[in-house]
Every structure is written in C-alpha cells, then in structure tokens.
Amino acid sequence: MNSITERASQANDSNALADAERRERCAPSVDVVEFDDAYVVTAEMPGVCDDAVDVDFQNGELTICGRVSERRREDATRRTVGFEPKDYFRSFRVGNTIDSDKIEADFCDGLLTLRLPKRQEIQPRKIAINRKSDESES
C-alpha cells in the first residue's frame, strides 16, 4: 500500500517533496542477473525488518521499498560519514518479458532476492533437428 502512495508522490513534481524526506531515502545496491528462464534481482537493504519490505509490480514497473524503524539515540554525535541504515527505494522498468504472476521474493538478513521468471513464449527453446535418415526410417 505504502509503495503506491510513494510512487504517486514521486510522480508529482518532486519540488513538493520535503527536503527532509528526500534525504531520508536511498537507493539499494543491486545485482541484476539474467538467466535463460528468469532475471534475478538481489538488493542490499541492511537494517530493514522482514515485515517492512514492499515489492510492487504494476504496469510493467517493479518497485522495491524498505523502511528502517530504528532511530538513533538523540544524544549520539556522528563521527564519520559512513554507513547509516536508511529507508530504501528503487524502481525498475521491466519489459513485457516477465510473467508477473510467478515473481518470487525472499528477504533474509537485509538481502532481498527477487526472481522474475520470463514468459514461457520468449524463453529460448531447443529445437530438435531431425536427420534425414531418421525421417526416411519412419
């Protein structure tokens, strides 16, 4: 649900987005690997709870969204500009090659793995070649 509203807010002129909100979210690092039968997307979202991940597929667009609930102690002072758990958001335009009913998602230890199976009709198919001798035999 949340991811839909967020998409809507981004589709508007993002001047409307508060600066604070813009700083909060960051893009997760992803690996996208293509196999014969599927694409596999692996996204790193450290600090995100299992139940705070949203994966949304709509109109050929894949949206990944993760929220971090923990906030830092107020008396802590930042000493290096390093890793900090943040909310994650990223969207991909996916062609019409994906069978959206069969998308699988797995989230474990801050790592989101998505398997996007290709539609059956576009998967590479081995064509058996009949030999002439076989044909003549039959």
Partner: protein
C-alpha cells in the same frame, strides 16, 4: 530488460521557465549527491563504517547484508578496532548468468577504526541484526566526559586541595 529510473519522473518541462528550474534542480541534485530524491552517491559511504559517539560509548555500524556471523571477525587492540568480513563467493548459477547490473560489493573487506579515547575491550559488544553489524564500544571510565558544576567564587576554596594550585592562584 530492466531499466532504472535514473532520470526522475519529476522533471517535466512544460514552459521555458520550467526548463530553467529543472536544469537548476538537476545540477543542485548532482552536487547534493541525490538524484530525484534518491541518494546514489552514498554508495561509497555505505561501504565504510558509521561511527557515532555518546558521552560514554562509541557505536560502530557496518553494513553486512547476507553475511553470516561466522564470516565476521572483530578485533580490538588498544583503541584500534579491526573488522573483517568474508563475503560468500558467487555461486555457480550466478556465474552462468549474464550480469545487467553489478553494484553489490564483492570479496572480503577489512575496516579499521581508531578511537581517540581509550576503550574497554572486555565490555565491547558486537551484534549482527538484519544485515547490520553493530558494535558498542564503551570508553573506559577515565576517558568519559564528566560534567563539572560551576560554583560561585565566594564559595570555592582555592587553597585547600593537597598542594595543587588553581590557575587563578598561579597568575596572582
């Protein structure tokens, strides 16, 4: 094909003024390390440890998504902290695939943090949770910040303490 929205959808140029505004925003987004409200340039920051300090401890956070506890080693020698991560090797299936995008860090990594104050190695805690390694490193008692109350001159006894002299008496 999977195509990223690198150019955010917020950029629409209905009039020349919009174009100028959009152009300004595009460059300010670039310099402020964000694009379309998303921070891409924080990638290298994300790989280094985040260190936070309170009056009596340090917190170190390291991103370790998908890494098991036994693939992490943490050492503390004096005030020098060393953390080693061993990232799992890519499996065969991934080797057979074709990469369209490869942003995740690979291989082993070593992080080193030197604390400016002496720290208590025995009381240091390390916790791996949701792909984040969180270290809590307490400062030793002496190095902790102490609040010192300020008294009015009339009630402060400058001559009393075991031969120690206050700066005020030095000057006089």
């Amino acid at each position: 094909m999977l195509t990223d929205y690198l150019v955010p959808r917020g950029y629409s140029f209905a009039s020349p003024l919009d174009f100028r505004r959009g152009l300004n925003r595009f460059f300010s987004d670039l310099t402020s390390e964000t694009r379309g409200g998303l921070s891409f340039a924080s990638l290298e920051n994300r790989c280094s440890p985040g260190v936070w300090e309170t009056s009596d401890e340090y917190f170190v956070e390291i991103a370790a998504p998908g890494i098991a506890e036994d693939a992490i080693s943490v050492e503390l020698a004096g005030s020098d902290l060393t953390v080693c991560l061993r990232r799992p090797a890519k499996n065969d299936a991934e080797k057979n695939g074709r990469y369209w995008r490869r942003e995740r860090a690979q291989g082993d990594a070593t992080f080193a943090v030197s604390f400016p104050n002496p720290v208590d190695a025995d009381a240091t805690e390390a916790r791996l949770e949701r792909g984040v390694l969180l270290l809590k490193v307490p400062k030793i008692e002496k190095a902790r910040v102490k609040k010192i109350g300020v008294n009015k001159t009339s009630t402060l006894d400058v001559t009393a303490t075991d031969g120690e002299t206050s700066p005020q008496t030095d000057r006089s």
